[in-house]
């Protein structure tokens, strides 16, 4: 009873503060639609003095009624009046409209959710564990508000125009020849945007899978001497802002690029803009996605039990035959997974097509141009976003199906004797031939990134060293008034650090908490819960960006242009990463330790803090680093959400690229990467790796998903 009282009290006191005045005062002052919610809250408070109220139906009915009232009053009355005329006659004051919810609204919503979780826990949800039950309810509510609500809103924006329902317009937009024409195959001009997107996706996925396979073969199955270098190089793209590669490619191969000029001088090849369009985007994407496919395939290769290959050779198969008949079939599910992963990434990629696209339009950039600038057309953007989302979900669904049914896991609990068979010589040579250009290219790109910022104009081959760009971006002065920052980049840099710094721990908390719920708790609807969280990962960033614009520009949740929307966006975009790291680590930990803690009187939260978290520290570290780095380098969703006050580094760099200020962009990128590395080290120190050495098996488990 005491606990229940405490759960109710702070909530009741703060209930309904609508920017200063409480709901009660507003309600009495004419906004009568707020009164039912207040009455329900009072009724609940009264009820809570009764014995055993948590198990009775009355409390449940009141809580549900309260939540319905809250949601209804929030949505029914918009900024400039009610959505139905009838409401206006009922509540005259509603005609004046209301603004977004203030803190009071959020707190009451939270309180209702808290009470709901308390009540269902008392009915045996989550084995009666109040903390777990509360977490589930709150995460579901957050997902609903920040993942599903925006998508639904976006979907409705595709159908509903300013004059009401517009199905015809939707069909017209959906079937526009601009999207579907196939002219490029007939050599009569450009293809539609959807066709472009799919062609690019398939090609990028194909090439990066091939490259990834070659890398994985060399690392896992040969005694190739540069293995360590390969691994190191493959990590680089993770900390590289996605468009930097695109910029570097322009600097190398653009019309005034280094190689183009060399070609013109030596071979007298006329400089062209060939790199803009499909070839350029493809190059950048293959470079960026190959590490991803490499890690997937490396995992698959290492999971193949070597005794299978040994069995094949003892049965008389030559190496090539063994490779073809045993290794290759076992690799196929991994290949499919890698391909689909790269395909999904290509669909979602925004930075490279924007920088290198030229006239080659893909869905993600098309969505962007439909929303930004003078051609603001949310309906069209929404339609395009729906198509992109559908494509992604199909790929995602295929991936789930294939991974679900076709992965031949040959790792068993028993130790595998035997050594992995080296790959046949021919394949090794082919693999080396394939990766040499990749390595050379990568080195070239990163040389540009490192050096480009410190020469006068890398774009026009003026290589005289200078600190001009760094000074433009980051000049500062320590004078009598303290530190003064003059550089043009400081604002965005500081915002980026703030946003990433706030988002990373929040992302980690929600990710690890979700992992714990999924791995350790039993509750009705767990499968749907898990699927919902994974889904939020599958939605391309561009779609998320547009959907946030569609959903959060208007009351009741009016947060566009604030820093909060950036943080929230990152939280839900990156949450699945923390979740996977957490799940992998949890699967290595005997769950009876948590049960032991419970039988000794520790609730869910105490168990999590005292037992689980200390044991999965490496996973926490992984999640923190990853969410931080991703937040710093993300472009796709962010570019829709930045405002003049809260600009992000990536959006700023993007702007410089569009203005052709490559040197400045590159200089800033290099600084960004250095800052990222420093921050990662800092996080490492803060989280502390002291305890990690003791339990090697946990460490290994947690590092894997980060890669």
């Amino acid at each position: 009873m005491l606990l229940a009282g405490m759960a109710v009290l702070p909530w009741y006191r703060q209930d309904g503060f609508f920017s200063g005045a409480s709901a009660l005062m507003q309600g009495l002052g004419g906004k009568t639609w707020l009164l039912p919610g207040v009455l329900i809250a009072m009724a609940l408070l009264a009820l809570s003095f009764q014995q055993g109220w948590r198990k009775g139906p009355a409390a449940m009915a009141l809580v549900i009624a309260g939540m319905v009232t809250l949601v209804a009053q929030g949505f029914a009355i918009q900024l400039n009046g009610p959505i139905w005329e009838g409401l206006g006659t009922l509540f005259p004051a509603a005609l004046a409209g209301q603004s977004g919810l203030g803190w009071g609204g959020f707190v009451s919503g939270l309180a209702f959710l808290g009470l709901l979780s308390e009540l269902i826990a008392a009915r045996g949800f989550c084995r009666g564990e109040r903390f777990a039950s509360g977490s589930v309810v709150i995460i579901v509510a957050l997902l609903a508000l920040f993942v599903f609500f925006p998508i639904l809103k976006l979907g409705s924006a595709a159908f509903i125009g300013p004059d009401g329902f517009a199905a015809a317009q939707f069909v017209e937009r959906l079937t526009a020849t601009e999207l579907w024409r196939l002219n490029c195959f007939q050599g009569t001009g450009r293809c539609g945007v959807v066709i472009n997107t799919v062609v690019l996706g398939v090609l990028a996925a194909l090439f990066s899978t091939l490259l990834g396979l070659a890398l994985a073969m060399l690392v896992a199955r040969t005694n190739f001497r540069l293995k360590k270098v390969l691994r190191a190089i493959s990590i680089l793209p993770i900390i590289t802002p996605p468009f930097v590669v695109g910029v570097a490619i322009i600097v190398l191969f653009g019309r005034t690029g280094i190689f183009t000029q060399l070609g013109a001088d030596i071979f007298d090849v006329r400089p062209t803009r060939w790199v803009y369009g499909l070839p350029g985007i493809l190059m950048a994407q293959v470079l960026a996605f190959a590490p991803v496919t490499f890690l997937v395939l490396l995992g698959t290769l290492e999971a193949i039990n070597p005794t299978l290959e040994e069995a094949s050779s003892t049965l008389g198969a030559k190496p090539m035959k063994t490779f073809r008949k045993v290794t290759w079939p076992l690799l196929r599910p991994g290949l499919a997974a890698a391909f689909l992963l790269a395909f999904i990434e290509s669909l979602a990629d925004f930075g490279n097509p924007l920088v290198l696209g030229g006239g080659y339009e893909v869905l993600s950039t098309k969505i962007f141009f439909a929303v930004v600038g003078a051609r603001y057309d949310l309906g069209n953007a929404a339609t395009l976003a729906m198509i992109l989302l559908a494509l992604t979900l199909v790929a995602f669904w295929l991936q789930m199906r294939w991974l679900g049914n076709k992965s031949y896991v040959t790792v068993t609990g028993k130790s595998d004797a035997g050594l992995a068979a080296p790959v046949p010589q021919i394949i090794k040579i082919a693999a080396i031939a394939l990766i040499i250009p990749w390595v050379a290219f990568t080195i070239g790109v990163y040389l540009i990134v490192v050096g480009g910022g410190f020469v006068t104009d890398i774009g026009r081959l003026d290589l005289s060293p200078t600190f001009r760009h760094i000074v433009t971006a980051f000049s500062f002065e320590i004078g009598s008034e303290g530190l003064r920052l003059y550089g043009s980049a400081w604002d965005s840099m500081i915002t980026t650090l703030w946003v990433s710094g706030i988002a990373a721990p929040l992302t980690t908390v929600i990710g690890i908490l979700t992992a714990w719920l999924v791995a350790r708790q039993d509750f009705a609807g767990k499968r749907a819960f898990e699927f919902g969280t994974m889904l939020s990962f599958a939605i391309p960033g561009t779609v998320v960006g547009v959907s946030y614009v569609a959903a959060f520009n208007v009351p009741p949740v009016d947060i566009t242009g604030t820093m909060a929307i950036l943080v929230i966006c990152f939280m839900f975009r990156n949450m699945p990463v923390g979740m996977r790291a957490g799940m992998a680590a949890l699967s290595q930990i005997d769950r009876s330790m948590e049960e032991a803690s419970q039988t000794m009187g520790a609730g869910g939260l105490a168990t999590l803090r005292n037992v689980v978290l200390p044991l999965i520290k490496p996973a926490i570290f992984t999640a923190l680093v990853y969410s931080f780095v991703t937040a710093m380098t993300a472009v796709s969703a962010v570019i829709f959400l930045v405002s003049a006050r809260h600009n992000m580094a990536t959006a700023y760099i993007m702007g410089r690229v569009e203005n052709g200020e490559y040197a400045l962009a590159i200089a800033y990128s290099a600084v960004l990467m250095i800052v990222m590395i420093l921050c990662v080290v800092l996080i490492q120190v803060l989280v502390g790796r002291r305890n990690l050495g003791r339990r090697k098996e946990l460490q290994g488990a947690a590092v894997a998903p980060a890669e």
């Binding site: 009876s592 049960e595 803690s597 039988t599 009187g601 520790a602 105490a606």
Partner: protein, 337 residues
């Protein structure tokens, strides 16, 4: 105050459509050590977890100390549990492990540690309080787990197959220690095992479970001497199950005719192998004779079917192939069906 420590009333536990526990009812008295015994998947561990609060029943009630705790999570019940894997926290030393419960329950840290030290002394581990679990032997880890479970004077002490990670040689000693501790502290204990010998050795009473239901409840001697079903007879010790008919107070199976009370009709009886005597010459035949050190086991072909016979080694050995007569005292028969 009632004398009942734990009571189950028609408890059902479902996982999706699978029934793990299928409507069981029983009660356990204070100070008693009761064992759940059964093959894997019979619902014994689930029943233990239902007592602990690690699972909540789908239907029915669980009462601890007369209070309905059916909807209370583990952290709201006062139970101690020793896990199969011991589940010691690897990042805490022995003292922190044992004082974890008292500290979590809001106790003063110094008082909690004093209490933990006291218990550690009782289980003979006083010198090891600063070690990490990974620096202890298996037997020591087990004792830490027990100390941790009893430090809060739980209403019920639960053991989930506590000996399965103990050396076969050590088991006898450890189980005697557990029994001793339970008696010394006057604790109500529930023990889960699939090892019938272990169950016979430690329990006041045994609850034999089969497919989510209770097959029989009784003292070790009850269960061994008077099994209620063929399953119980076969699961606890070895049993010859002989199918036949009862007519006018006599059980007939093949050429066997033994006095047996009860209603007429088809019947199955159980007879323990060591309760069958062997005499040379006769219509039965020894199929195999196996020397096992402490006894010799014979498989004998009789008119009522094959029977397992166990004889002490001081009796004359009989070779396979020999003709024999079997001797059964009617009082050693138990009708199980």
């Amino acid at each position: 105050m009632s004398d009942t420590a734990i009571e189950f009333v028609n408890v059902v536990k479902r996982y999706g459509s699978a029934l793990a526990v299928d409507g069981i009812s029983f009660s356990i008295a204070k100070g008693e050590l009761v064992t759940f015994l059964g093959p894997s998947g019979c619902g014994k561990t689930t029943s233990l977890r239902l007592i602990a609060g690690l699972e909540l029943p789908s239907e029915g009630q669980v009462l601890i100390g007369g209070r309905d705790v059916s909807r209370d999570p583990a952290s709201d019940r006062n139970v101690g549990m020793v896990f199969q894997s011991y589940a010691l926290f690897p990042h805490m030393n022995v003292l922190d492990n044992v004082s974890y419960g008292p500290v979590i329950r809001g106790g003063d840290k110094a008082a909690a540690q004093a209490k933990a030290r006291e218990i550690l002394e009782q289980v003979g581990l006083s010198g090891l309080q600063d070690r990490l679990p990974s620096e202890l032997s298996g037997g020591q880890q087990q004792r830490v787990a027990v100390a941790r479970a009893i430090v809060q004077q739980p209403e019920v002490l639960l053991f989930d197959e506590p000996l399965s990670n103990v050396d076969a040689k050590l088991r006898r000693k450890v189980r005697a220690e557990i029994r001793d501790l339970q008696r010394r502290f006057g604790l109500t204990a529930v023990y889960v095992t699939h090892d019938q010998e272990e169950a016979l050795a430690v329990s006041d009473r045994i609850i034999v479970m089969q497919a989510g239901k209770i097959a029989q409840i009784g003292t070790p001697q009850d269960l061994y001497d008077r099994p209620a079903t063929p399953f119980v007879a076969d699961f606890i010790g070895d049993a010859n199950l002989i199918a036949g008919t009862v007519q006018n107070g006599t059980f007939h199976a093949g050429d066997l005719g033994l006095a047996l009370a009860g209603p007429d009709g088809a019947a199955t009886v159980s007879i323990r192998p060591e309760r069958i005597g062997l005499r040379r010459d006769g219509s039965a035949k020894v199929i195999s004779a196996t020397y096992l050190g402490s006894r010799t086991e014979y498989v004998v072909q009789t008119g009522a079917g094959e029977m397992l016979v166990s004889r002490p080694i001081w009796e004359d050995a009989i070779d396979a192939g020999a003709a024999v007569t079997i001797e059964i005292r009617p009082t050693d028969l138990t009708r199980v069906k």
